[in-house]
Amino acid sequence: MVASKKSKIFFFIIFLLPALLLYSLFFIKPFIEGIHYSFTDWNGIVPEIPLSFEKTEFETEVLAKMKSPKHLAVVKKYYRLDGDFYRLTNWISEAGKPDRQLTNTERQKIKKALKTVGISSINYIGFENYKQMFTNDIRFIPRFEKRFLYNEFEDLPETIEAKAFHKYLLNNIKDPADKKWLLTKYQFDATAKSYHLLPYTEAEDERLRTILAQNMFENKFIPGVIGFTLFFTFFNVVITNLFALLLAMILDTKLRFKNALRSIFFLPNVLSLVIVAFIWSFVFRLILPPLTGIPIWLGNPDIAPIAVLIVSIWQGAGYLMVIYLAGLQTIPAEITEVAEVDGANWFQRFLHVKVPLLVPAFTICFFYSIANSLKMFDLIFALTNGGGPAYATTSIVIDIYNNAFLQNQFGYATAKAIFLCLIIIVITGTQLFLMKRREVEL
């Protein structure tokens, strides 16, 4: 049955129009407001309208300058003198009624009136926020950092690898006398390719410690917030999808316990990420160190990003597996059988028959995991105490949170959020464009 034009209009008004209105109310409007805030120096704590003014300030800056009698009446009505201050009467008591707070329209009126004399809690600063992101935010962009490798209160290292000894220590010492002296204390051992500490006296101990503490450093690449987010996104998307596809293919065969296994692999997805984080922090502290020999996982800035990645993959693979499984099951058995009859081996059947038919599933899974990885917040927040150790696992969203709530830079944080939104739109847009073209219809 084809719907008539009249009924189409009817359905549009009943179903689509409300949806569109709600969409513009809850997405478009906040988004535009976000762009607007990203050009301001809003610090989040200053109230929309000042709650009090000093007496002289109010008289000279507001009352004297305000021209319109209408605005003046508004300001005079709501600000009352109390000691040395003019205070906003936030609660209004009217005869016969319970006390009530200022209504929104009244607030807007006051705001408008104060704006005419240049008093507002938010000022425009142009592109300053966007500039700051790339020039004046040392945690945001990737960089090189001098990292000292020895702390003078630690025991002196007994052996140092020859390569490290030259690169991190010998090349950094400027004074040739120190260099020469150090080589008499550390002896080269050709078989082990390392330098050994020779016995030393109490007085030499001091000099050795100072030399090592001041000169033993490396120039380490620190990925910064952007670097970490991109690293996390890339590996999370690739490995999670690989695992999910592998699991889906295994579970698509005639396995005996496949239903039970499907539930087991999907289970991590049902758990809340915060619970997952707690479970895994035990695993990283009590189970993995004796198994792998790496003593510290979540507390080591170099390893923590990998630890976060592992948990994220474990948690995310189950969900994508379900999508791939659904994709695999829509492929009719006849097609693969035909290919088999034609003499295609297992790998050829997979590459030339199944993969092209799975492209719609790839599109969805990639889109989902890219957008989710770029926005990763809760898992990292719970797992590494809000992006620790030492900012090593701070994703862009956590950085936005820190900017806003720890550093009082709400405007700047909003600018970063807009920047993130643009990145997500560009990356997922390109991905969708490229993959949609490769989808085949049966």
């Binding site: 620190i222 003593p295 507390g299 709530f405």
Partner: protein, 418 residues
Amino acid sequence: MKGRIVKGWLFLVLVGLFICNFQGVFAAKKVQLDLFFYKQEIVKEMGELTQAFSKKYPDVEIKLEIVPNESMAVLRTKMAGGNAPDIIQLQSYASVFEFAKAGWLADLTKEPVISKVVPSTKTAVTYNGKVYALPMDVAGIGIIYNKDIFKKYGLKPPTTFSELKSVCATLKKNGVTPFAGLFKANWSLGHFISMVHTSLAGDKLMPWLEKMNQGKGSFADPINKAELFKIMDFYKANVDKNAAEMDWNEQQAAFASGKAAMMVQGLWSYGAAIETNPKLNCGFIPFPTSDNPKENKLFADVDSTFAISATSSPEKTKAAKLFLEWLATPEAVKIWVEKCKLVPTFKGADVSSMDAPFQDLVRYLNDGNTNPWAFAMYPVAVFEDACKNGAQEYMFGRKNADQVIKYIDDTWKREIKK
């Protein structure tokens, strides 16, 4: 028939829901106050305190809300969203000043309860000559040490940095970790860097702070930069091996079990440690930074305060003031001292029942042998972000000494520009 029964039930449920909704109107006499606090070590005790209050004043009910680590963040969103809590527990100095400056706090200068606190504690809550909060407890940050372990190895509590070094060396030789560490959360390291900085700065602290707030000077000005970071290195070399993964609970556990002989902590942590191991025998001393024992003062000041929101309705403000008034009564002080284990600020409060470390703290306070909590006087973002994260990044080798100092300076300049 069946359908009618179902409909009848539905109707009843709806009416029930409707009535429940309006219960607020029926019980309008009861004033409900929201109390927002951040001290995670007294969650249970705050409940007892407010219950005791409600028993005396049955028409006021206090609803508690605890936000331990991100309290300032939550508070700001609450304020911005227009539902400020009626009674707010704030950290002394900068937090009080920040909210007072923005106009969110009610002026308490003329309240009778303010005259009952020790006058010297009022500086922590006075902004532009007006008192905006009630100082509640005095706390100290220093070394809490295990007297039994010290006795076992014949050690005396160190009074100078050299002595501390030799104490640590002896402990290490005997397989005891000198300090129970806490590097996972950044706040403890923030306290540490500020404590050492203040102690090294000595008399130069106040003039330096003034200069900083005018936009001049640097964090490194009043001290020898190398000395500050030397002490940081020293601390790093003497904590647990896996301090990077230890949070507050684990630090307490390591100290209480005797695995570590000392911890650099505020005295508020003592309660948790003693709860884990009631046989613990502790003492409390300043963290020595100098080799002159007279320069090593205890880092102690007003910690928490209670403020009242300026946007609460008049009747709620009245009830909130009643609560603050009640806190000064002997009944409330007793709960504060015995249950919460916090040193009160009220004049003549009885603290004789408190354990030995608190007596140590009170002795230092009475002798005037203390340094003020400089970190509470830094602009909020300087401490919350630059000091805490900066110190943590230094410990993990992500920033070097100059970068930490530059980051603190930059943040400071940005904050005072507002």
